[in-house]
Symmetry: C2
């Protein structure tokens, strides 16, 4: 490798991909000992990725062979990083004893995630092994609604006592730190288990041993409610930049914490859901593209397509209504795709920006008049430019009559302005009436503006040609 090539070698191109492909090749050739050597050189996140890729390319049985090569203390950590499909695939095929030892080693919140996805009979089998107290705690956590803060949190946080000094706090952390989800943020509660304040490990390690926690803890801490939607939780993380967030119940008692590493996954899943909906795919299963069957995909695509088809039928009705106009001036049909296309695209641009603005909290419902005014003005400028280009093209290039050109371009002007305004307002309206604004994206807006486009176009044409 030349010096210049070396300089270009970045994180993306490090040898992990090579090691991964090597392991899969070795497994395929049944060279298990060498595959294992390669696997053990990887950290847990990479090992999990190799197992997922193995499942993808060589099937679940081979993935299990690979999974079993992991040392016991790593297996649980790797397992918790696998997709829920692969987790299920493994857990239903290994021995009960193996399942038990993996579950026992996992962090509490990861374990809950796994249990939530497993069939009830397997969960029961696992719960049988737990102590009565553990079982009770697990059941409480399993009962929090999916996608709630409760379903994300862990009870393994560090509690400190207000009357302790820094020395006592550090001694306590030394004792319990390894079993906690995080040691970097610790919590102080009152007798009613209500959150009194937060103590960061940074503040502890930079102070003298005699300082009292009461003097350095942060009161009025930000928290989330156990029933808050996980989107609310991730917004709070983004806003405050915390490493961990306390979760309280309705009586304001501290019941758990959520750590930032789990939020990265939540953000990714929420974003995927938003983007899918904007593309007209409605699927709440968090399944990845290749992990779902053909009929699962059909189920998440067909209903919305049918709805949009019905909307397209209305557009057809509009054309049917103007069939005589069209029969007299068939060249009108030539510019129909152009009008529908630019209308749909103009509207989609506006709705995309407003949907995203709502999602990141920049646009609120009360901004509706501002959005409308903005989109109206943008629409005028954009429509003016496109219609001018189009007028020249239709009249001079296509050599159509000036009447046809004026009809098409006049309609285009109207359609684009309407599309921009609709695209700006509909996501806000959706939010107002409790529908996900993401549904008001390109597919829906295009279908809707198609109808408007046909109507405006043919109405104008009837008028221009006196039909």
């Amino acid at each position: 490798m030349s010096e210049a090539e070396k300089a270009e070698k970045t994180y993306e191109e490090t040898s992990f991909e090579e090691v991964r492909d090597e392991i899969i090749k070795l497994l395929d050739a049944k060279k298990y000992i060498r595959a294992r050597q390669n696997l053990l050189s990887l950290n847990e996140a990479d090992a999990a990725e190799v197992i997922e890729e193995t499942e993808d390319e060589l099937g679940i049985e081979m993935a299990i062979i690979l999974f079993r090569m992991l040392p016991k203390d790593e297996a649980a950590e790797v397992f918790s990083r696998l997709s829920s499909d692969d987790q299920q695939g493994i857990i239903t095929r290994i021995t009960d004893k193996e399942v038990g030892s993996i579950i026992a080693e996992m962090d509490f919140d990861d374990m809950i995630d796994v249990l939530e996805e497993l069939p009830a009979n397997i969960v029961d089998k696992i719960l049988e092994r737990a102590t009565r107290e553990e079982r009770k705690l697990i059941n409480t956590f399993l009962n929090y609604p999916e996608d709630s803060a409760g379903s994300l949190m862990t009870p393994d946080y560090i509690t400190l006592k207000q009357e302790w000094d820094v020395g006592e706090a550090l001694a306590h952390i030394k004792k319990v730190g390894m079993d906690s989800e995080t040691v970097y943020t610790c919590y102080v509660k009152d007798r009613g288990r209500r959150l009194l304040g937060i103590v960061s490990l940074r503040s502890l390690v930079t102070r003298d041993a005699e300082v009292l926690l009461a003097d350095l803890m942060v009161e009025d801490a930000v928290f989330v409610n156990v029933f808050d939607d996980r989107e609310v939780v991730s917004e709070a993380f983004k806003k405050y930049g915390f490493l961990a967030m306390p979760v309280v119940d309705n009586e304001k008692r501290l019941v758990g914490i959520i750590t930032v590493d789990d939020i990265l996954d939540v953000i990714e899943e929420e974003t995927t859901e938003d983007i899918e909906r904007m593309g007209g795919v409605i699927d709440r299963s968090d399944k990845e593209y290749f992990d779902s069957g053909i009929f699962h995909q059909v189920k998440s695509r067909l209903p919305w397509l049918i709805l949009l088809m019905v909307s397209a039928m209305f557009t057809g009705l509009v054309i049917a209504h103007f069939e005589t106009t069209l029969a007299k001036v068939t060249s009108l049909a030539i510019y129909l795709p152009l009008l529908m296309g630019t209308g749909g695209n103009s509207g989609s641009q506006a709705s995309t920006l407003v949907i995203r603005g709502l999602a990141v909290g920049e646009i609120e419902l009360k901004d509706a008049p501002r959005v409308l005014f903005r989109e109206f003005r943008i629409g005028l400028v954009v429509a003016g430019a496109l219609s001018a280009i189009n007028l020249c093209k239709i009249h001079f290039l296509d050599q159509e009559s000036f009447k046809v050109a004026i009809t098409a371009c006049g309609a285009q002007l109207i359609i684009i302005v309407i599309a921009k305004c609709l695209g700006g307002l509909l996501p806000l309206l959706a939010k107002k009436i409790g529908i996900d604004p993401a549904l008001m994206a390109a597919p829906f807006i295009s279908s809707l503006t198609d109808t408007f486009a046909c109507f405006a176009y043919f109405t104008l044409a009837s008028f221009m040609f006196g039909i």
Copy 2:
């Protein structure tokens, strides 16, 4: 408030929004003392939000009045959380001395972010105040490409020495901890400043004072290169779940670290860019919806609209080519929106899923054949269902001839399958040739499938009606 209402009171509805609106109302009524009292009750993130909202509603001058009410030690922190537009607005209107004291108080990485956005003459003025050494460091950081790991990192990390024991390390952290971006991950370097290993504060506070760092540090640490794109960095954070990531230069020397709280912002900005491109808006400025002018918006929307209009003109050409067919059977036009609509929407669904799959790393280029086969099968099922519905509707409800119904539905079947395959493949093709796959979303796919739809429809019609 009833008990039930209280129980529903969640994070989103806490009093912050009320305090915010109260402050703005007080400012508007020039009741500055009471506005200040309210402001001081807020944490930095909330205070920043109030200032942004004030700028939005009452203008920048009032926002500056509010900003100046902050105590000195909070001002820098609040400032670093403002949007870059508000930062510029403030910095160009306050005194040089005020600017100097804010900049001096800011974290290094936040300061670089601010300097990157400021006009050169202001940056020069600020640099004049810095020591020669600081100036050199700032200039190095300012020279990293925008959107690179280098532009995100901070040099304020803690370096420990391999030969130290835990006690010595903790004593060092106590001394320098308050000036570091994070104390929770510390770094050990060799003499050539290359990264030797990582020591977490958790491992330090849970071990005895005599343990040597050489025995507990993690070697083979994951790192990113200073020129890696920030998307690569955020992928690495998602995968490994770290709180901080070391950044090395091309000689593998440790030059800085990136902390997870900054990555949350990066993920949001990258997602916004992806979503905007999928909606046909191409804008690399990171400006929010209301922060950009009308002509900025036009500039980011018009080029793509023109391109898509040209594509729609091709569709028009196809119709023009078949004008005689259309003139003979004008009722064919009625089903054109339906065919174009379902084609576009079917294709958009596929492309949305593949674009997202590429973005999260689930789908790779080598998966192209799998994607094609999948979309082909999904397309067949979806097309079958929609065409069947449509056939009944056109023949029985619209009472069109069986010939027209068969033409429309046969064309629909072909179009949907083609659209699904195109939607699945085009994002992969774009990635292959180095274009952002996000551009292959709904607007582009719809425009493309429109052309196919018209062609397939009228070809079939010509054949069916023997024209």
